[in-house]
């Protein structure tokens, strides 16, 4: 026997346990037994590969978190560490991570594709297009069966019934899904929409695989309008989500992202209405202000002001006129007087001359007057009618005659008439 102190059973098992628990490994195997009973603190199963069997346990809480149901023959990948259950002297594998083996491979493939597309710059934020605020037509690529499509339609109807929905009902899992999704995206794009919703309800990782397909990813990238994805309910993000213009967590969330709510739009319209009224009111206010300002200007407020200057001019002109007239008149009067005086003087001179002439003419007249002739010894005979007799032929003996002399007259009677010597 060696000098080493002998260990107890517990001690040796404890040592083994300590050694084993330090090593974390991943193991792939097929499930050969499952013991999943409610009330038990852990789920027990066995993993085998045909040659060996590994008993496993996973604490219930952690197991439930995986959401998996273990079935006989399922290929799984576990991660954890070996340990010893001392009471039974058994080897156990404590599972920390559990996944379906297929899923593990798939995840790796997806990760690789994602890296490649990212390297091509297809996931960059600068590529993501903004959504139209008020879409006229909304494209919808999803399964025509199930809850998701109706959730989306209901949400869109409630929020924004104005938009027409252009739907491509496609297969969203299994073989053929990829082809149909790509065809659906293409059809909807060609139909002319403002935005596309690509969505599906929840499912397993495998169910969601079509949305990790490269063709689908490239079809999303090639869409002429923004694509909003709403794939599954889990936190897992598919490649379609990564290359989309906007990722929503669920189909309903995608619908909400795409369409404004009626309330929002109605409020916006109200906002416009009040903005318009304010604007118009401001315009009329300013116009009113201008008019009022002009109305209060003196030329309009007191129109007499306009004529006052002119009328004052008139007044002072009238005044000047009044003053000027008498002066003028006085001047004229003086002129008149002067003229009168002059007239008088020259008038009397003229009169004098006229008188002289008159006298002279008077004299001549007297000389020529028959009475003057009488002075020379002639006499005039008038008949009884006072008509001067020029011819004796008019006389008859016994006729009465008046004879006028230079001095005095005589009444005569005709004794005889003699026409001889005429």
């Amino acid at each position: 026997m060696s000098e080493q102190t002998a260990l107890t059973v517990s001690e040796v098992l404890q040592q083994a346990r300590s050694s084993l628990e330090r090593i974390r490994v991943a193991v792939v195997g097929e499930i050969s037994e499952v013991s999943d009973r409610p009330g038990y603190k852990a789920v027990y199963f066995s993993l085998c590969d045909g040659d060996a069997v590994l008993p496993c346990l996973m604490w219930r809480r952690e197991f439930d978190a995986t959401g998996l149901t273990l079935t006989q023959g399922a290929l799984v990948e576990i991660e954890g560490f070996l340990t010893v259950y001392a009471a039974k002297g058994r080897l156990q594998f404590q599972v920390r991570r559990l996944a379906l083996a297929g899923e593990g491979v798939l995840r790796m493939q997806v990760a690789a594709l994602a890296a490649r597309l990212q390297a091509e710059g297809l996931m960059g934020d600068e590529r993501k297009r903004p959504l139209v605020e008020l879409p006229e037509r909304i494209g919808l690529v999803t399964s025509p069966r199930g809850k998701a499509v109706h959730d989306v339609l209901r949400t869109l109807e409630r929020r924004y019934p104005l938009a027409e929905i252009v739907m491509a009902g496609v297969q969203i899992e299994g073989r053929g899904a990829v082809g149909e999704i790509v065809a659906g995206l293409s059809a909807v794009g060609e139909a002319g929409v403002d935005v596309v919703i690509l969505c599906r309800g929840g499912g397993s990782y495998e169910d969601l695989m079509p949305f990790n397909d490269e063709s689908v990813a490239r079809a999303v990238i090639a869409s002429p309008v923004p694509v909003v994805t709403g794939i599954g309910h889990e936190p897992d993000t598919s490649i379609a989500d990564l290359v989309a213009d906007l990722r929503a967590s669920t189909p309903t969330a995608a619908a909400e992202a795409v369409a404004p709510s009626m309330d929002e739009v109605a409020r916006r319209l109200d906002h416009f209405a009040s903005g318009m009224m304010r604007g118009l009111s401001a315009s009329t206010q300013s116009a009113r202000h201008r008019v009022r300002a002009l109305a209060s200007r003196p030329v309009l407020a007191d129109p007499y002001a306009l004529v006052s200057r002119q009328s004052q001019r008139l007044d002072s002109a009238a005044e000047a006129l009044d003053r000027a007239l008498p002066v003028r008149m006085e001047r004229d009067r003086q002129r008149l007087e002067t003229l009168e005086g002059a007239l008088k003087t020259s008038g009397s001179r003229v009169l004098e001359r006229v008188r002289l002439r008159k006298d002279a003419l008077g004299d001549r007249l007297r000389d020529l007057s028959p009475l003057g002739i009488l002075g020379r010894g002639y006499s005039i005979c008038f008949d009884a009618d006072g008509v001067a007799i020029r011819s004796a032929a008019l006389l008859e003996p016994g006729m009465g005659l008046n004879v006028r002399f230079a001095e005095g007259r005589a009444g005569c009677t005709v004794d005889s008439v003699d026409m001889e010597g005429t």
Binding site: V132, E133, L134, P135, E136, S143, P144, R145, K147, V149, H150, L153, L156, E157, Y160, P161, L162, A163, E164, I165, V166, M167, A168, G169, V170, A183, G184, A187, V188, A191, M262, V265, A266, R268, L269, F272, A273, G275, M276, M277, R278, G279, L280, A282, S283, T284, S286, A287
Partner: protein, 90 residues
Amino acid sequence: MSEEDKEREETQVAEMRFSEAVAELESVVRDLESGTLDLEDSIERYERGVALLEVCRSKLEDAQQRVTTLMGELEDEQSSPDASSDASGE
């Protein structure tokens, strides 16, 4: 504006797409709020805005969702695989 022109403008506004009408309404409000228009223009723009507002509001009120199906048949939510599906999408 003549009666004819008014009518033509009314039909034109009624035929506008909702988003177009909203966009024009936005510009009307901007014009009015800018305070650079004279009185007649302000009134004219305001009237245009009111017409657009009417159309927008009535479109909102009357709006009914239309679904056009390019491929696949929309199934009723409650329908079982065997029942003949009522294609509720046009």
